[in-house]
C-alpha cells in the first residue's frame, strides 16, 4: 500500500537521475519576508494603540483626520465607561466614579508633565464611542471631561 502511494506521488525520474527531489522554498521565504516587513511597519506607525473593546462598534466617519498624538482614551462601550481600557462605571449614575478616575488621571498627567518637559499636559482626550450611545450620555461624559480640563476632544470613527 505504502509503496503504491509512494509510486503515485513520485515524479517519474528520467533514467540516470536520482529520485531525490528538493522543494524550492526560496520564493516562499521572499513572500514571508515581505509580509513580515508589511506587518511590522503597520505596528510601528501607530502612535497610539487604538483598539475598541469587543462589544464596541465605532461608527463610520467620512472626512476624518489622521491619528492624533498621545491622549487620554475614554471608551463608551457596550457595558459602560472605560478609561485607558479599565472599566470605570456602568451607564447608571456614572458621574461620581468618572470624576474620581479623571481626577487621578489628571494628577498623574500633571506629575509626568512636571518631571518631563517633553510631555505636554494639553487636555487632549480621545473618545471611542459605540455608535448606539445616545447623546444624553455623551454630553454628561463631555461635561465631566471638561470639568477636569479635557477640552480638546477627538472622536474615533472607522474610515470607510
Amino acid at each position: 500500500m505504502r509503496r503504491n502511494q509512494r509510486r503515485l506521488f513520485q515524479k517519474k525520474k528520467p533514467q540516470g537521475e536520482s529520485g531525490l527531489m528538493s522543494l524550492q522554498i526560496t520564493s516562499m521565504a521572499d513572500i514571508f519576508t515581505i509580509l513580515l516587513v508589511f506587518l511590522l511597519k503597520g505596528i510601528s506607525t501607530d502612535a497610539l494603540a487604538i483598539a475598541p473593546s469587543a462589544g464596541t462598534r465605532l461608527p463610520l466617519g467620512h472626512n476624518s483626520t489622521t491619528i492624533p498624538d498621545t491622549a487620554l482614551q475614554v471608551e463608551l462601550g457596550e457595558a459602560g465607561i472605560l478609561i485607558e481600557k479599565e472599566f470605570v462605571a456602568g451607564y447608571r449614575d456614572f458621574e461620581g466614579a468618572l470624576s474620581k478616575r479623571l481626577e487621578v488621571e489628571r494628577k498623574k498627567q500633571d506629575l509626568i508633565a512636571s518631571k518631563n518637559d517633553a510631555v505636554k499636559n494639553d487636555g487632549q482626550v480621545l473618545i471611542l464611542s459605540d455608535s448606539k450611545v445616545p447623546f444624553s450620555t455623551l454630553k454628561r461624559v463631555l461635561k465631566a471631561l471638561s470639568a477636569y480640563g479635557y477640552s480638546d476632544v477627538k472622536f474615533a470613527v472607522v474610515r470607510p
Binding site: 522554498i25 526560496t26 516562499m28 521565504a29 514571508f32 519576508t33 509580509l35 513580515l36 506587518l39 511590522l40 503597520g42 505596528i43 487604538i50 483598539a51 465605532l58 461608527p59 463610520l60 466617519g61 467620512h62 472626512n63 476624518s64 483626520t65 489622521t66 491619528i67 492624533p68 463608551l76 480621545l126 464611542s129 459605540d130 455608535s131 448606539k132 450611545v133 445616545p134 447623546f135 444624553s136 455623551l138 454630553k139 463631555l142 461635561k143 471631561l145 471638561s146 479635557y150 477640552s151 480638546d152 476632544v153 477627538k154 472622536f155 474615533a156 470613527v157 472607522v158 474610515r159
Partner: protein, 156 residues
C-alpha cells in the same frame, strides 16, 4: 579557508556548491506572521476634532459674524440655525442625498467672508445615537468648520 602567503584565497580551498538551509528561517517567519496577523487590527481609524463649550475661545478672539448651530434630531434630521449677519432656520434629512447636498452647500456658503461663520455649535436630541452625530460631524469636517460639541439648551 586557507590563504596563501600573499593573502589570496586558493581556488582549491573553496567549496564547490554551497546550499543555505532556509527551512528554520521559514519556520520562524511562519510563527512571527501568525502572531502578527492574530494581533493586528485591520480597522482604519480616523478622528473628528471638537472642543467642549467655553474652552475653545482664545483671549482676544472676536465673536463670529454669524453663529451656526447644528442640532441632530432622531438620528435622521439635521436642524441648522443661523444667527447674526445671516439668519435662518433650515431642516435637512440625513437619509436624503439631495438634502445632504444642500446642507453641505449651506455650510460652504456660511464659511465665506460675507457670512462670516467661524465655528459650529453641535448638539443633538437626547436620544440621538452617536452614529448620526458622527455622520453630521463628517459634513462639518468637510466644510473645515471647527466644532464645539455640547448641550446649548436653546432648543425645545
Amino acid at each position: 579557508m586557507i590563504a596563501d602567503p600573499q593573502g589570496a584565497l586558493t581556488q582549491s580551498s573553496l567549496p564547490q556548491d554551497v546550499e543555505v538551509n532556509i527551512t528554520p528561517v521559514i519556520d520562524c517567519f511562519t510563527v512571527l506572521i501568525t502572531f502578527l496577523l492574530a494581533s493586528a487590527s485591520f480597522l482604519s481609524i480616523g478622528f473628528f476634532e471638537a472642543a467642549t463649550p467655553g474652552t475653545d475661545i482664545a483671549p482676544g478672539a472676536q465673536e463670529p459674524l454669524t453663529e451656526l448651530h447644528v442640532r441632530v434630531r432622531d438620528g435622521k434630521t439635521i436642524e441648522l440655525r443661523e444667527k447674526g449677519k445671516k439668519s435662518g432656520f433650515f431642516t435637512y434629512y440625513l437619509e436624503n442625498p439631495e438634502s445632504v447636498r444642500n446642507f453641505r452647500a449651506e455650510l460652504s456658503a456660511a464659511k465665506t467672508p460675507a457670512v462670516g461663520a467661524t465655528r459650529v455649535l453641535l448638539s443633538a436630541h437626547d436620544k440621538t445615537d452617536f452614529e448620526a452625530i458622527a455622520a453630521t460631524m463628517g459634513y462639518l469636517n468637510e466644510a473645515s468648520l471647527p466644532v464645539v460639541i455640547g448641550d446649548f439648551g436653546d432648543h425645545p
